[in-house]
């Protein structure tokens, strides 16, 4: 019984590691955090009611471990300045004319289900997420995978709401560009 549960947990290790690595950008720290998560999960087996999937439950535990790790890291004085660097919007100005209209219309990505049902699509997502600047990826993952709300993220990272929205905008614009180039315009969809 306990063995089965352990096996179930182990199958999620690579997913958890991917999420942790994207947020922490530190392989060793990511491995530590995932190990902590799995150990905590094993100890809290009784808390798993089976109402949500094992993956969702583990992601919930991982979320706390990552926030703790970020908090510890935050005491090292680097994050704020790099976050400011990554809040620069210039990269995307070229998409718009001087009047602020699209230079080139965003493409029609067609039926979402078609892409979302393919494993390769998520490999491409991983590739595109890896390409984001480190702090941008961290903030985006906090928002979209850990599902923290804006206030929580601002508090954890000691940034303003405006700063947060710019970083999330950058993350989405970069991902959009990467997916459009590598999946929707390329061979991925065919």
């Amino acid at each position: 019984m306990a063995d089965d549960f352990l096996k179930q947990l182990e199958t999620q290790r690579s997913y958890l590691l991917r999420v942790a690595r994207l947020q922490l950008r530190d392989q060793a720290l990511a491995e530590d955090v995932v190990q902590d998560t799995l150990v905590a999960a094993l100890g809290a087996q009784a808390g798993f009611t089976g109402k949500s999937s094992v993956k969702t439950w583990l992601t919930g535990i991982l979320k706390h471990k990552i926030v703790d790790a970020i908090r510890r890291k935050q005491r090292e004085p680097v994050a704020a300045s790099t976050l400011d660097d990554e809040a620069d919007l210039e990269d995307f100005e070229g998409l718009f004319s001087a009047r602020g209209s699209w230079q080139e219309s965003p493409a029609d990505w067609g039926d979402p289900e078609q892409a979302l049902n393919r494993r390769q699509f998520f490999d491409m997502m991983d590739f595109c997420l890896e390409k984001l600047p480190p702090n941008t990826a961290r903030v985006f993952m906090m928002r979209e995978v850990m599902e923290l709300d804006s206030d929580e993220i601002c508090k954890e990272l000691a940034i303003t709401a405006n700063n947060l929205w710019v970083i999330l905008y950058r993350a989405r614009m970069s991902l959009r560009e990467c997916l459009e180039l590598n999946w929707f315009a390329g061979g991925g969809r065919a």
Partner: protein, 66 residues
């Protein structure tokens, strides 16, 4: 291009719309923002496509974590 495009663009540009569409996923827009956004999206195909892409990406991230 839609003949009303420049008229609407006068009130809110596609660039500003792209920011609102992103922020819509992180905060509640004000009534005024929603009005301006809705009006622009109603006549701008490019921004409609962008808004659809952003919704797609949110759904993709939801599947990613499940």
């Amino acid at each position: 291009m839609n003949p009303f495009h420049h008229l609407v663009g006068h009130f809110i540009s596609c660039r500003d719309v792209s920011h609102l569409v992103s922020q819509m996923q992180d905060r509640d827009l004000s009534a005024f923002e929603r009005l301006r956004l809705g009006w622009h999206l109603g006549v701008c195909k490019a921004c409609m496509a962008f808004e659809k892409q952003m919704r797609f990406m949110r759904e993709a991230m939801r599947r990613y974590r499940e």
